[in-house]
Symmetry: C2
Subunit: 263 residues, 2 copies
């Protein structure tokens, strides 16, 4: 028997917010060798600023994949950030890949070269280090207070370092210049009830509040504790509070009528 | 002055290995609320099996993005895995999205229904829980030893749970049935030298060994320690050893001739 597909309303982003995509560049994440720390940091920082991360792609040090990701996301989201691949070694191919994505020539950026020259001793400023000043034509630099070599942005694409401390400094320095969306408020309720006990009522509540609130349901199993986190998000404090009361009432009602322990 | 773009050889994957894509589905990762633990786990497990993770996409609970990611990656890689979105709540939309990606109808899977019925008490087996048996037509089930609700696969796309314990059990159960590639050997060398000191020589070594070995260079800054990890990977033990000796000789040579402390 074929059943109808139940498709909830597309909730790409909350009303009033601004969207962003993120491209994490580097073989080390894909091999499992390095556990990425940048995604969650960037997601949280952006959200504080009213910018919702709508998609992340992790690609290797591979020109084709970088170009494809940049061109797919820069047309779709207000901002695109990339991390990684802007150092001096052979596997740092982000800048030329971005140039190709925008169909721009690469050139040695005069201001970037000046900053690098000021940072390195003359005898240390070799070809590889000078190449960190090679960027697509007509970009804006992003300060690197840690190790001088700047990031850059062109149009809506922001090219950041991959080393967390440098990436964070770069993100901090550009955030004030980005368009801030409406700030997102969150309410989280943890319950020992099971998803299956509340799914029907929760779907009704989500549907009643669909215009202004998203409700996510996240089961957790840890340290002997089993339960569900319900996370409500909205840019509208009043709508959030109303949805929260409905969820709270639902949980109280189910708890009063059930003793089930099934997941 | 426009400089030439230096593009290293595309090293999408090592010879003899099999490639995979991963799609992580769920708003909770994109909001920064949940730090993903599945990507590194899957990357490592696949690599042990000679399967290289070539791309990851993290998308929200958004039908359009799920369909696009599935269709982009399933044509490109030997295997595609998805995690998340197969529970009973309104935000679990992975199964119908996969059905649309494959242009298949959804149907209640008889075997999945049987397993769920055996797991739940009659009075607890409500509509929401029954819907966890709704899957695209003609899929193969993936066992869920934790909470019964199975994952499934069709063609080369494997649909797994998002909860780490369940995802891991599912992955373990399917791995033996996947085509194993040549196993990848790794050698890592940590050095206190700077990337910029060795970039030129390292690029030469990479280029000499390009057919069989990839060399990644990863700077780290932690707990007062600053340095670079050089990671060599190959399916060929002999080629790996030769490249390793070249890198080692390079490091010894640079260390002997330099006292620079610049990054």
């Amino acid at each position: 028997m074929a059943t109808k597909q139940k498709t909830p309303p597309a909730q790409d982003h909350l009303p009033g917010t601004v969207t962003a995509g993120l491209i994490v560049i580097g073989n080390e994440i894909l091999s499992g060798r390095t556990h990425d720390k940048n995604i969650a940091y960037i997601a949280e920082k952006l959200e504080e600023h009213g910018i919702q991360l709508a998609q992340v792609r992790i690609v290797g040090d591979n020109e084709h994949d970088i170009i494809e990701a940049v061109n797919a996301l820069r047309g779709r989201y207000r901002y695109v950030f990339t991390t990684g691949g802007i150092g001096p070694t052979h596997d740092d191919i982000t800048a030329p890949s971005i140039a190709k994505a925008f169909n721009r020539v690469m050139e040695r950026n005069t201001e970037a070269l000046k900053r690098l020259r000021a940072y390195y001793k003359v005898e240390d400023f070799n070809d590889a280090r000078q190449r960190m000043a090679d960027m697509p034509r007509d970009v804006h630099l992003i300060d690197n207070p840690v190790s001088a070599a700047p990031g850059f942005y062109l149009e809506n694409v922001y090219v950041l370092a991959g080393v967390p401390a440098i990436m964070q400094a770069m993100l901090d320095s550009i955030l004030p210049s980005l368009k801030a969306g409406a700030s997102i408020k969150t309410k989280t309720i943890q319950t020992e009830l099971k998803e299956g006990q509340m799914a029907a009522t929760l779907a009704k509540i989500q549907s009643q509040h669909a215009a202004k609130v998203t409700i996510g349901s996240y089961p957790f199993f840890k340290e002997g504790q089993v339960g569900v986190s319900l996370v409500l998000r909205s840019t509208d404090e009043f709508a959030l509070q109303k949805a929260y009361q409905d969820v709270k009432a639902m949980l109280d009602d189910i708890a009063a009528h059930s003793t089930s322990k099934a997941l």
